[in-house]
């Protein structure tokens, strides 16, 4: 058992452990979970020389205040995040994302908040000491699966860090910038023709607003009540991350990592894989416009997304 750990002095709004997710469980009703923003999750690991799939701490909006006990570590924070390092001698440093830092024994890390996005990530070199459940370390708070009994962290909880000698890891300052536009590309859904021509045009041309009902399960939008001319319920069937369901009130809902595995509302579209990170990061009050792409275009855009990710990962070398 390791004796290095973070003591949680403030838990933050939704602080969990996430990795690339849990597969082969949809058929019994367990979502994939995993980091909402997969690219920032991978970059967080790369910045501290971890395997890309090492579990990290994911936080939403207000992050945790952590005190390091008994050892020193390397850590990194990715996303659009304001944080401070409060040294043991009371000196305070303003943190910068996409860098790695050394945290000494009894130093505190205050992850104050995300700025224009919802989620941020914190990695430590060597990783956290956690138990894998169904091939993943991701915490699924809906089914209480994963580390910490499948619950989000609370104040006074401890997060143990694997015992590893502090490595002299290379200082990295990655120059990462996220394309900031509000266009999300979508492939037509299996029930697209349930909607009136007017609704179809509204869906692909008009702006929608992210409501307060946004979490790791999904994001509810408002703006136009999309008119259904067929039926507002379908026989329940499987869902995927990015699927956009429209219930009878006409307001679209985008499914995210912790979504219910089946649903009974018509699907007007599905967000393409390359845009899932950005969709998950949308904050309440922000606007989004959907643009139609074909399957072939989506596949090509995904290749470009992967190339971009790899470019940033390589810059860390």
């Amino acid at each position: 058992m390791s004796n290095t750990y973070f003591e949680i002095l403030r838990s933050g709004i939704n602080t969990t452990i996430q990795d690339c997710g849990r597969n082969y469980m949809y058929h019994i009703g367990i979502a994939v979970s995993g980091a909402i923003d997969q690219r920032n999750f991978k970059l967080a690991n790369k910045l501290v020389e971890n395997h890309l799939n090492e579990p990290v701490i994911e936080f939403a909006y207000q992050g945790p205040l952590l005190k390091l006990k008994n050892n020193k570590i390397n850590f990194s924070i990715t996303g659009d995040v304001i944080f401070k390092i409060i040294r043991n001698n009371s000196k305070v440093e303003n943190g910068i994302c996409y860098r790695n830092y050394i945290l000494e024994k009894n130093d505190q890390l205050d992850i104050i908040s995300t700025k224009n996005t919802a989620y941020g990530y914190m990695s430590v070199n060597g990783g956290f000491q956690l138990e894998k459940i169904w091939n993943s370390y991701s915490i699924n708070t809906k089914a209480n699966i994963g580390p910490n009994n499948g619950k989000k962290y609370s104040t006074e909880d401890k997060i143990f860090i694997k015992n590893s000698k502090l490595k002299n890891i290379k200082k990295i300052e990655l120059n990462y910038s996220e394309l900031s536009d509000n266009i999300v590309r979508v492939i037509k859904g299996t029930n697209f023709d349930y909607f009136s021509i007017k609704a179809q045009n509204q869906f692909f041309n008009q702006e929608f607003t992210v409501t307060k009902l946004a979490d790791r399960m999904g994001i509810r939008l408002s703006g136009y009540n999309l008119e259904n001319i067929n039926k507002t319920n379908i026989k329940s069937e499987g869902l995927v991350r990015g699927a956009i369901q429209v219930p009878s009130d006409g307001n679209p809902i985008i499914m995210l990592s912790d979504h219910g595995t089946i649903g009974g509302y018509p699907k007007i579209g599905v967000v393409i894989s390359a845009d899932l990170d950005r969709v998950g990061q949308l904050t309440p009050g922000s606007n989004v416009t959907f643009k139609e792409v074909s399957l072939e275009e989506a596949e090509n855009i995904f290749k470009a997304y992967n190339n971009d990710t790899n470019k940033y990962l390589n810059e860390c070398n």
């Binding site: 058929h27 026989k235 069937e237 219910g260």
Partner: protein, 228 residues
């Protein structure tokens, strides 16, 4: 058999077995599910990462880093379905307590269906049910078919919290809330049985698609003293 194959986004194949809901169509879905599960176990590098069977659809999710829609569609089309794969005809008995206020929607059902609760429960408990699928929340079974006389729409406004163990009915289906969850089904009782056990890593779900379910009534004393 599969009537149509299309894509659901860029990482899933949508297999449509028709629009009706019945045991025959659902058993085709489960046949494909069983065959694909076996294939995934045997050949790890296909890139298939999830299979989601439902009443009359099967969704096959894949990892776009390793494969694509065309490839997975081809695998599904080339699949030879032999009826011989293990049939899940297992029977499971599920105790339900309808006393002590567990029947949250007796009043509503009484009004909507115009028959008294005793008769509703008689009709409910007199039948064997078939598990079409599990999901929405972990391990929740979707069972059918209810007698025509006790088919009722879901609540106009769903409950924010349905208690864990609640047994609900709506339309032709019954289900069991394996966790406290939001939900709009008409609740007629509660089972003390652990239908989903996250600590049982090998077999967390008690009920699987294809299983047969027999509900039986227990008293509130039996409910309180239930010991698995």
């Amino acid at each position: 058999m599969i009537k149509n194959i299309s894509n659901l986004g860029d990482t899933a194949v949508y297999c449509d077995f028709g629009s009706e809901v019945n045991e025959t169509i659902n058993s085709y879905v489960i046949d494909y599910f069983d065959h694909l599960s076996k294939l995934v176990k045997e050949e790890k590098n296909l890139g298939i990462i999830n299979l989601t069977p439902s009443y009359n659809k099967l969704i096959v999710s894949f990892d776009l880093n390793f494969t694509n829609y065309k490839e997975i569609k081809k695998i599904i089309e080339n699949l030879i379905i032999k009826k011989s794969i293990k049939k899940n005809k297992k029977k499971i008995n599920v105790p339900v307590c309808c006393e002590a206020g567990h029947g949250l929607d007796f009043g509503r059902l009484n009004n909507k269906l115009n028959i008294n609760i005793d008769e509703i429960l008689n009709l409910f408990f007199s039948k064997e049910y078939f598990c079409y699928m599990t999901g929405f929340i972990a391990g929740m079974p979707f069972l059918g078919d209810l007698e025509n006389k006790i088919r009722c729409d879901r609540l106009e406004t769903p409950r924010v919290k349905v208690p864990k163990g609640s047994v609900g009915i709506t339309e032709q289906f019954a289900n069991i809330y394996t966790f406290e969850s939001p939900g709009g089904w008409n609740i007629i009782g509660n089972t003390p049985l652990k239908v989903f056990d996250e600590t049982n890593l090998k077999k967390p779900s008690l009920i699987k698609p294809g299983n047969k379910i027999n509900f039986y009534q227990i008293s509130k004393e039996e409910y309180l003293n239930w010991n698995e």
